[in-house]
Symmetry: C2
Subunit: 283 residues, 2 copies
């Protein structure tokens, strides 16, 4: 999915919100806005919005000297989710369909996203995701594919959210699946890295690799050889979040996308409304 004209305003919003988190002064933030403004003509319409992120966040890093702006917030998100984890695992086990319950939790977790300008209330979100209808709900296709296949590549998204993914992943492990999880190469926004996966203990239950991706999304041909091997050989690929959707939605191989549509541009591309929850198999 390529950049929409609407994305440009969002880049300016991201600069202001992220500069604030990075502790930049108003004067520095203003300089950042000027720099971004001057670069607008050179941003191609043939890339995904996600691919602009390293430039936007890189600019803030360069001006503030802060190379892991979301470190504290990521840790907080992971801790908050870990606190909720034991009860959510019990609720899942007690539910009529633990696989579906854990999938709903994985969607709920997707709201923890500092890259999309908005606030969130995770407990309210969990509650909502349990009662809300999926707008696109390819759950039957997914369960059929799970029955047939063995190897799953699970492309992770944000800190905090991965704790919820872990509940879903544990359900998939109960079905004797072999799962590899992919994270980003280095810190970008609140996306997960190997460090986050280790922090929540995900690496104790499945293999976790870096996709090699420096953007908050996944462009397979630009990823590491190891990632590409898993990507092409996996029976099932599960992609979490908008950044991965933006970059993987035009791929040739079948992919299951799980996310909440948090921006109008993505919602329009999907053909859903803002706030809708999606489990969609593409291709």
């Amino acid at each position: 999915m390529n950049i929409y004209l609407e994305c440009f305003s969002c880049f300016f919003k991201q600069i202001v919100e992220t500069a604030k988190i990075a502790g930049a002064s108003p004067e520095t933030t203003r300089e950042l806005l000027n720099e971004l403004g001057k670069s607008i003509p050179s941003i191609s319409m043939d890339i995904t919005p996600t691919e602009v992120s390293p430039y936007v966040y890189g600019l803030i890093e360069r001006y503030t000297g802060n190379t892991d702006i979301y470190k504290t917030l990521k840790k907080k998100s992971n801790q908050l989710a870990l606190e909720l984890y034991p009860n959510l695992e019990i609720d899942t086990a007690k539910s009529a369909n633990p696989l579906l319950t854990s999938l709903r939790l994985a969607v709920a977790g997707n709201v923890i996203d500092y890259g999309v300008p908005s606030s969130f209330d995770i407990e309210k979100e969990i509650e909502e995701c349990f009662h809300k209808e999926f707008t696109i709900f390819d759950f039957e296709l997914l369960t059929t594919d799970i029955k047939k296949g063995k190897n799953i590549l699970y492309i992770l998204d944000n800190a905090g959210e991965i704790v919820f993914d872990m509940i879903f992943i544990k359900e998939l492990l109960k079905l004797k699946k072999e799962i590899v999880c992919a994270v980003r190469e280095k810190p970008i926004i609140n996306d997960v890295t190997l460090e986050d996966a280790a922090y929540i203990g995900l690496d104790k239950i499945v293999k976790v690799i870096s996709s090699g991706s420096p953007i908050p999304g996944t462009i397979p041909k630009k990823c590491s050889d190891e990632f590409q091997q898993y990507y092409h050989n996996a029976d099932i690929v599960i992609s979490k979040g908008q950044g991965n959707y933006e970059t993987l939605s035009n791929e040739k191989r079948p992919i299951y996308f799980i996310f909440k549509a948090k921006c109008q541009v993505v919602a329009r591309h999907v053909g859903c409304n803002l706030g809708d929850i999606i489990l969609m198999r593409k291709n």
Copy 2:
């Protein structure tokens, strides 16, 4: 109230939304975004956000050749409000406090605003404004001032909204006040001009003047001599909408501001929440 860092993203949003209304192609809109981007460094932080509008909308006019982009939407807004008008006037007359009821309608009308990216439902808005508490409610001060004073300068805001203002103005006329209404010098966004005032028949019941303002707000010292005379001599000045608030909030003379806080930046300046309704005397 000066520009906030958050305003810059809004300028880009306005370009995209307005270019669409003006019928610009995606390619032209992209060129507009590039032009705006390049101009960012030259936008001073010492002006009000409203003062950037002539540049933003002028850019769109220049690229599309359309010098009254909102003409059709303004006419629609006026027509829609005129359809609601007879019943609203009856409701007002029947109410316990017609002045307050008509004031609430004037606030409800303020939601008709194409300059603030959002959609609106006017009937829902009217309903809401009848039940919602004002966050700042200087109604007692206003009624005291009305008792004491005779001359009112009423600075209008948007098409459609002025029909609701007319109900409030008629209540003020019943109190034997002398009212002069001020509109913008020429079309800018959906702000009212002499043409709109004449279309709804406002000029039949009060004197309507152009403020001489080319921006969607009012900077008295840059307005016409006629406006400045009324402005300085009026016993009461009533200012509708955010654009007028942004430009008049630091003025020395007492002014009554009536509006709904439709953007975070204005809400922060006022010290209220987004969506709050305000009747505030400043100075």
